[in-house]
């Protein structure tokens, strides 16, 4: 079946079997591997993407269900080569250790801040409660989201990625897809 989506502002499509999971569609068919597969059982949130404005676990949505919808993944956070405030805050506040849960954590954080620009610590923790960090780095994840909300991520906000390898990798991936 053909699935058409707008992902990070770009229209994309692919032919898939109905049983293809949204996370595999994004990673394998669209070549955007920033979205991770963690538990594959709706528990960990590493596969979090924003589907029509709402964060969901993409291991528990069929790709065909996303036909016609708008998706946002971690690759959509950076704009014109500049870090999104949530990315800058995660960098400055050491909001990641191994980095595996980070795409999901940042997307949930970004979605929360769009709804509520100045959440309390309790609101942040509540909103993050479907996302697991196996490094248990929750303190700094919460700090980072709070800082991004307060617009106090310091010098790192909007920092130029410059020649960061991640940009090259992302562009290569985009060209390859």
């Amino acid at each position: 079946m053909r699935v058409d989506v707008t992902i990070n502002g770009e229209p994309r499509s692919a032919e898939v079997e109905p049983r293809t999971l949204l996370v595999d569609f994004i990673r394998t068919h669209l070549g955007l591997t920033g979205t991770h597969v963690g538990c594959d059982t709706t528990s960990c949130g590493a596969c979090t993407v924003i589907l029509d404005g709402k964060p969901v676990k993409s291991c528990t949505v069929l790709a065909v269900q996303a036909h016609g919808s708008e998706l946002r993944t971690v690759e959509g956070l950076r704009q014109n080569g500049r870090l999104h405030p949530i990315q800058a805050a995660f960098k400055e506040h050491h909001g990641l250790q191994c980095g595996f849960c980070t795409p999901g954590m940042m997307l949930v954080g970004a979605a929360l801040l769009e709804k509520n620009p100045a959440p309390s610590e309790e609101e942040i923790r509540w909103e993050l409660s479907g996302n697991l960090c196996r490094c248990t780095g929750y303190m700094n994840i919460v700090e980072a989201i709070k800082a991004a909300g307060a617009g106090s991520a310091g010098d790192a906000v909007g920092e130029d990625l410059g020649a960061a390898e991640s940009v090259a990798a992302a562009e290569e991936m985009e060209a390859h897809a």
């Binding site: 109905p18 049983r19 594959d40 676990k57 949505v61 069929l62 949930v108 479907g130």
Partner: protein, 290 residues
């Protein structure tokens, strides 16, 4: 993990969906939020031949007043209930349950009606529906029928829908003045099943309990309606002695199993404590209402 292969349709009208379900019989399965069905399919615990995705049918996402009931459509997500003023006004019990269902991401996708239809005894909503005396609205090619929740919840993962039928809504009596409700859930962590969940509903008129509902989660092969405990309450004035007695009766009605979440005796003790606390919380809500 991939589910076993299946056919997929996404009808855009209820008529189309019920015609498809009639044609497919036992092979057809309705897909709404998919937060229980898809994990079961990935584990091959469910292998439907054909999924009928109802997400593209307009109008099923409404929370609306119909014939003195508050009707929750088949595409109303748990998160919609968390955010709904209608629910907050009409059902303090539903409002207090929604934030404890699964986790925030699952709540954005999973539906109340899907959870009701799934009949997992560890699901929260059927305890609430049993406490409230809800009704399930089912549609088929032959029309619509309304099923009292007690007849709908049959057994472990088993509802009373017939082949070709789908749930289009669940509806609850609109809460009149003096109505209160509380859901208490003990869980090891967010997103885990309840170790024990207890739904309590009371309506008090002129100092007398005129309606009482108690539903129990995760303590039996299906969600349990504690009928004896409810009957003890109706017609009486609320008191801590009465609530303690009803709580003991509810604990006796529970039938928990010992498992990783705790021994059966412990769970039964939690049922007793939560029924008492839930009823007390209801009385506090009503007195605060004035």
């Amino acid at each position: 993990m991939y589910p076993a292969p299946f056919e997929y349709s996404a009808p855009t009208t209820l008529e189309e969906a019920t015609a498809l379900l009639a044609e497919l019989g036992d092979e057809g399965r309705v897909l709404a939020g998919g937060q229980s069905l898809l994990p079961m399919m990935k584990l091959r615990l469910a292998t439907p031949g054909h999924l009928v995705d109802i997400n593209r049918i307009p109008g099923l996402d409404r929370i609306e007043h119909v014939d003195g009931h508050l009707q929750i459509g088949a595409l109303v997500r748990h998160a919609d209930v968390v955010d709904s003023q209608e629910i907050a006004d009409a059902s303090p019990l539903m409002a207090s349950t929604a934030p404890w269902v699964a986790d925030p991401l699952v709540r954005n996708r999973g539906t109340v009606c899907g959870s009701v239809a799934h009949c997992d005894p560890e699901g929260d909503w059927n305890s609430v529906m049993l406490a409230l005396g809800a009704e399930v609205v089912a549609a088929s090619r032959h029309g619509e029928r309304v099923i009292p929740i007690e007849d709908f919840v049959v057994d472990y993962f088993t509802n009373s829908l017939q082949a070709g039928e789908m749930v289009t809504a669940v509806r609850i009596p609109r809460g009149d003045a003096g109505t209160a409700g509380k859901y208490l859930k003990l869980e090891r962590k967010v997103g885990d099943y309840a170790t024990v969940g207890v739904a309590t509903h009371l309506r008090i008129d002129g100092g007398t309990i005129v309606e009482a509902g108690i539903g129990l989660t995760s303590v039996g092969p299906r969600n349990i309606k504690a009928r004896e405990a409810e009957a003890m309450l109706v017609g009486e004035a609320p008191s801590s002695e009465l609530f303690a007695e009803a709580a003991r009766a509810a604990a006796l009605a529970s039938d928990p199993a010992s498992d990783v979440r705790g021994p059966a005796d412990y769970k039964r003790a939690v049922v007793e404590a939560y029924v008492r606390r839930g009823l007390e919380a209801c009385v506090r809500q009503i007195s605060e209402e004035g």
